[in-house]
C-alpha cells in the first residue's frame, strides 16, 4: 500500500503553547509518502493544532518542519499551498454565494495580463479536478445548492487544482451521510493511488482501520503510539487514546428504574426548515422518557435531529405535533422564557455563537437568564455567582473580568452556571464538552454526575461515542429524525451506536456501493 515509501513531511520537536496550556509538547511527527497517515486522539489532544502548523495556519513556538528533507518555513496557508500542502478543514470553508469554479479558484483567480478573470480556463480546470474525483459537478452551479458531501468535494477539487502533494483532511466525515462517507473513502484511495500523501484525522475508529496505512495516536499534546496498519487493532487505539486499558465510566449512582419520570415526550414532530444555510432535520415522531436524576445520552450523526430535539424542548423551535410533559403536566414551550419558567434550561452546542456575550463580565454572563428582581443588585449577584462558581469549580479570581478571559472549559462551566441559576429540573446539553481539553472534560462529567445525583435530570447529545459511553445511564440513538434504538448502560458500545445511527444497514456494505447516491 505504501508504494514509494519514505518520509515526505516531518515536524521535529515541535512545541506549541496557548495561554494556560501546552497544546503540543515536543512532538516529532513523520508523514509517510504516498500513504494514508492517520492521526488519532480525543478532542483537545492536539491533533488540529499539529495539522494547522503543518498547513501554515499557525506557527510552532519551537521546533522545525522538513519537507523532502529540506527545512521548511511556513508563514501562512498560502506558503504551505505553494509547497503543495493543502488542508480541508472540519468546518468547510466554501463560499456558498459563488459557483463551483469560482470557489475552486477563490483567492487564486486566474487572470489575463490585465486583472480580468480567465473564466473559461477556471471552469475547465475545475471540471478536470472534479473529474479526477469522479464527480462531474456542474462548475457553474452555486455552491449554496450543493449537499455537504458535494461541498467537501469542491474543497477537495480546490486542493487538487492547485497541485497538492500532501492533503490534510480534518475530520472529513463528521458531517457526511454514510453514502457520502463511502464516496469520500473511494476518493481518498484514488488520490493515494495517484501519488498524493494523505493526512487523515478522525475519531471514528472503523473508518481509520479501514483507510489507514500509518497510525499515530496523540494524547494531551504528546505522541503516545505509532504503528503500521498490520500492527494496529481497535484495542490498541482505544488504549492509547484514553491512556487506560478500559475507559472508566463516570461512576453512576445507579439510577433506580423506579425513579419518577421528570420529562416525557410523546410523538414529537417538527417540520424541516432551512436555517443559517443548513437544513434542519424534521423530527418524525420522537417519544422519550427521562427520569429524575437520570443522565440520558442522545447519540446520532450530524443531521440526525439531535439539536432540533433539544431546541424544541428549550422553547427555541415550534413543534408541529406531539406533547411534552414535565412531572406529568403538559407544558407549552413557545419561548425560551416559557421553557426556563417550566424548569428546562439548555447549554447550547456552540459556546461562542449561541452562549456567551463577550462584552459582559463573567458575573453578568452567569446571571443573564436568571429571573431577577426589578432592580439589579450587583452585590447579591456576586454572592450567587460565587456560590455557583465554587460548586462548579470555575477558576476565575475576578468575576468582573470579561468572560472571554476564561479557558474553554471554564467558559462551558459559566454556561452551566447560567442554567443552574434558573434552578431547572431538566438540563439539556448539546455537545457538553465540545472543544474542551481532556482534563476539563472529565471534570465536567463528574460535575454533571453530581448534579444528577442531586436530582437533576440531564439530557445530552453527543457525536462522540466515548462521551456517550462514559456519561450516559442510558442512550437513545437518533437517525433521520426518529429514535432508532434505546441502549441500557451495559449495552452502549461503539458498534451498537454506529449500527443504530447509520441510515443504512452496514457501513462496510455501503463502502462497496461507492456512493452512487451522491
Amino acid at each position: 500500500m505504501s508504494a514509494g515509501g519514505g518520509i515526505i513531511l516531518e515536524a521535529r520537536d515541535v512545541v506549541k503553547r496557548y495561554p494556560g496550556h501546552v497544546a503540543l509538547d515536543h512532538i516529532t511527527y513523520r508523514v509517510h509518502r504516498n500513504a494514508v497517515n492517520v492521526l488519532i486522539g480525543e478532542n483537545g489532544a492536539g491533533k488540529s493544532t499539529l495539522m494547522r502548523i503543518l498547513a501554515g495556519v499557525e506557527q510552532a513556538d519551537e521546533g522545525t518542519l522538513w519537507l523532502e528533507g529540506q527545512p521548511l518555513q511556513l508563514g501562512s496557508p498560502r506558503e504551505a499551498s505553494a509547497q503543495g500542502i493543502a488542508i480541508v478543514h472540519q468546518e468547510l470553508a466554501v463560499l456558498p454565494n459563488l459557483n463551483v469554479a469560482e470557489n475552486v479558484f477563490a483567492g487564486r483567480e486566474l487572470t489575463h495580463r490585465l486583472p480580468v478573470l480567465k473564466t473559461d480556463e477556471q471552469k475547465s480546470r475545475s471540471a478536470s479536478a472534479l473529474r479526477r474525483l469522479h464527480k462531474p459537478l456542474a462548475v457553474e452551479g452555486l455552491v449554496a445548492e450543493l449537499s455537504l458531501g458535494n461541498r467537501q468535494l469542491v474543497e477537495l477539487a480546490r486542493t487538487l487544482a492547485h497541485g497538492a502533494r500532501v492533503l490534510i483532511l480534518d475530520e472529513p466525515t463528521s458531517a457526511l451521510s454514510v453514502a457520502e462517507t463511502a464516496a469520500l473513502f473511494q476518493v481518498v484511495e484514488e488520490l493515494r493511488a495517484a501519488g498524493v500523501t494523505i493526512l487523515y484525522i478522525s475519531h471514528r475508529l472503523h473508518e481509520l482501520l479501514h483507510l489507514g496505512d500509518y497510525f499515530t495516536v496523540l494524547r494531551s499534546g504528546r505522541i503516545v503510539g505509532e504503528a503500521e496498519r498490520s500492527e494496529v487493532t481497535r484495542q490498541w487505539i482505544v488504549e492509547r487514546m484514553s491512556g487506560r486499558s478500559e475507559a472508566e465510566r463516570v461512576a453512576s449512582a445507579g439510577v433506580a428504574v423506579a425513579s419518577p419520570v421528570a420529562l416525557e415526550v410523546k410523538g414529537l414532530r417538527t417540520t424541516a426548515m432551512a436555517q443559517d444555510e443548513s437544513v434542519r432535520t424534521a423530527l418524525d415522531g420522537v417519544s422519550l422518557v427521562l427520569r429524575r436524576g437520570e443522565v440520558l445520552g442522545l447519540y446520532g450523526l450530524l443531521g440526525a435531529g439531535r439539536t432540533e430535539l433539544l431546541e424544541v424542548l428549550a422553547g427555541l423551535r415550534p413543534r408541529a405535533d406531539g406533547e411534552v410533559l414535565l412531572d406529568g403536566q403538559p407544558v407549552r414551550l413557545r419561548t425560551v422564557a416559557e421553557a426556563i419558567a417550566a424548569g428546562i434550561a439548555m447549554v447550547p452546542e456552540d459556546r461562542q455563537r449561541d452562549g456567551l456575550v463577550p462584552e459582559l463580565s463573567i458575573r453578568e454572563n452567569v446571571v443573564l437568564a436568571a429571573k431577577g428582581a426589578r432592580v439589579l443588585s450587583p452585590a447579591q449577584e456576586t454572592q450567587r455567582v460565587r456560590e455557583l462558581a465554587t460548586q462548579l469549580n470555575i477558576v476565575a479570581h475576578d468575576l468582573e473580568l470579561p468572560v472571554t478571559a476564561l479557558s474553554g472549559g471554564n467558559q462551558q462551566k459559566v454556561l452551566l452556571a447560567r442554567c443552574l441559576a434558573c434552578a431547572p429540573r431538566v438540563l439539556l446539553l448539546d455537545e457538553p464538552t465540545r472543544g474542551i481539553d481532556v482534563g476539563a472534560k472529565h471534570e465536567i462529567y463528574r460535575i454533571l454526575r453530581q448534579l444528577a445525583s442531586a436530582g437533576l435530570s440531564i439530557l445530552f447529545t453527543s457525536s462522540e461515542v466515548e462521551e456517550t459511553t462514559l456519561l450516559a445511564d442510558r442512550a437513545l440513538v437518533l437517525c433521520q429524525g426518529r429514535i432508532a434504538a434505546e441502549l441500557p448502560a451495559g449495552a452502549i458500545t461503539d458498534e451498537a451506536l454506529f449500527a443504530a445511527a447509520s441510515p443504512q444497514v452496514a457501513t462496510t456494505a455501503a463502502t462497496s456501493q461507492q456512493g452512487s447516491k451522491l
Binding site: 425560551v336 422564557a337 421553557a339 463577550p358 462584552e359 443573564l368 437568564a369 426589578r374 439589579l376
Partner: protein, 354 residues
C-alpha cells in the same frame, strides 16, 4: 529572589501600571477632550464662560444630548435609528397643528400628547419593522426618516405654523414654557436632559432591561437562548428613541414659538456622532449613557466655541468630521489595547489572589 529578578519584576509592575494608566486615559477620553475644549475656548474667547453664553450653550447641548440618549439604547442593542431627526420635525408640526386648529382655550397638553403619540407610533413602526418584518435597522429607519419627514410637510403643506405662544386674538398659551422657562436658574430643556439621563443610566446599569439591551447587542443568539424577549426589548429601544425625538421637536417649537417642517434635519447624524464619541460601539453591546452625554457636550461645545472664535461655518463642518473620525480611531486603538492586555491583567489579578 535574585536582585536581577527583583528588578525585572519591578519593571514589569511599572509597565503594568503604565498600561493601566493608558487604558484609563483612553476610557476617560471624552471627559479629557471636553475639559481641553473648555479650557482652550475659555482662553481664546473671554466671554465663553460667561453665564449668558453657558445658558445658550446648555440649550444647544441639551437638544443634541436628548436625541443622543435615545439613540444610545438603540445602538447598544445593535440597531440604529435614522428617523429621530424626522420625528423631531413631525413632533413640532403635530403640536403646531393642534395648537393652531384647536378652537378655544389652551390646547398645550393636548398638543404635547398628540406629538408624543405620533412619534411613539413611528418608533413602534421602526421596532416592528426590525423585529417582525426582519428589515435591517438602517433600512427600516431610513424609510421612516422619509415617511415622517413627508408627513411633517403634509401637515401644513410645507408651511410654518407661527405664533404658537399666542395669537392676534389675544389667547396666550403655556406652550412656550416647554422651551423657555427656567427652574432654579436652569432652562427647562436642561432639566429634561438631566431627567432623561438619570432615567436612562439607571435603566442601563440597574435594571434587567438594561442588562438585556447589552446582552442583545453583544450576542443576540445567546440573549435569545437565555430566555430574553429580544423583539420586545428592541421595540422598547425604538420607542424610547421616538420619545426623545418627540421631546426635542416640542422643545424647539416652544423655543421658537413656531414649528417648521424642516426642523431636525441631520439631528440623527449628530446623535450618532455623539454616541460614537462617547465610546459606544456601533456593533452594539458596549458603551454607556454617560458617554453619549459627554459626546453631545463635546460636539455642542466645539460648535459654539468655533462660532465664537469666528471660524467659518464650512470649516466647522470639516472639524466636526475630523473629531468623529479621530474618536472612532482611538476607540479601535482602545479595543486592541484591551485585547492585548487582557492576559496581562488576568495574570496580575490571579497573582494578587494568591
Amino acid at each position: 529572589m535574585t536582585p536581577i529578578a527583583q528588578t525585572l519584576s519591578r519593571s514589569n509592575r511599572l509597565a503594568d501600571r503604565g498600561a493601566r494608566l493608558l487604558l484609563l486615559l483612553l476610557r476617560a477620553r471624552a471627559v479629557l477632550v471636553l475639559v481641553v475644549l473648555l479650557a482652550v475656548f475659555a482662553l481664546l474667547v473671554p466671554s465663553f464662560l460667561s453665564a449668558n453664553n453657558l445658558s445658550i450653550l446648555s440649550k444647544h447641548v441639551s437638544i443634541s444630548a436628548i436625541v443622543a440618549i435615545g439613540m444610545t439604547f438603540v445602538v447598544l442593542a445593535g440597531g440604529i435609528d435614522l428617523s429621530v431627526g424626522s420625528m423631531a420635525g413631525l413632533s413640532g408640526m403635530v403640536a403646531g397643528y393642534v395648537l393652531t386648529h384647536h378652537a378655544g382655550g389652551d390646547a398645550t397638553l393636548l398638543a404635547v400628547l398628540a406629538a408624543l403619540l405620533a412619534c411613539l407610533a413611528v418608533g413602534a413602526v421602526n421596532g416592528l419593522l426590525v423585529t417582525r418584518a426582519g428589515v435591517a435597522p438602517f433600512i427600516a429607519t431610513l424609510g421612516t426618516l422619509y415617511i415622517a419627514r413627508g408627513a411633517a410637510l403634509l401637515i401644513s403643506n410645507g408651511k410654518t405654523f407661527p405664533n404658537l405662544g399666542g395669537d392676534a386674538s389675544g389667547t396666550t398659551r403655556l406652550f412656550p414654557a416647554i422651551g423657555q422657562s427656567f427652574l432654579l436658574h436652569l432652562p427647562t430643556p436642561v432639566w429634561v436632559m438631566a431627567m432623561l439621563f438619570a432615567i436612562a443610566s439607571g435603566v442601563a446599569t440597574r435594571t434587567p432591561l438594561g442588562r438585556h439591551i447589552y446582552a442583545i447587542g453583544g450576542n443576540e443568539r445567546a440573549a435569545r437562548l437565555a430566555g430574553i424577549n429580544v423583539a420586545q426589548v428592541k421595540l422598547v429601544t425604538y420607542l424610547f428613541s421616538g420619545l426623545c425625538g418627540a421631546l426635542v421637536g416640542l422643545i424647539i417649537a416652544a423655543q421658537l414659538e413656531a414649528s417648521h417642517p424642516a426642523t431636525g434635519e441631520t439631528f440623527e447624524l449628530n446623535a450618532i456622532a455623539a454616541v460614537v464619541l462617547g465610546g459606544t460601539s456601533l456593533m452594539g453591546g458596549r458603551g454607556t449613557v454617560l458617554g453619549s452625554l459627554l459626546g453631545a457636550f463635546v460636539i455642542g461645545v466645539l460648535a459654539d466655541g468655533l462660532v465664537m472664535l469666528g471660524v467659518s461655518e464650512f470649516w466647522q463642518i470639516v472639524i466636526k468630521g475630523l473629531v468623529i473620525v479621530l474618536a472612532v480611531s482611538i476607540d479601535q486603538l482602545q479595543t486592541r489595547l484591551q485585547a492585548a492586555f487582557l492576559p496581562y491583567l488576568m495574570r496580575s489579578s490571579t497573582e494578587a489572589g494568591r
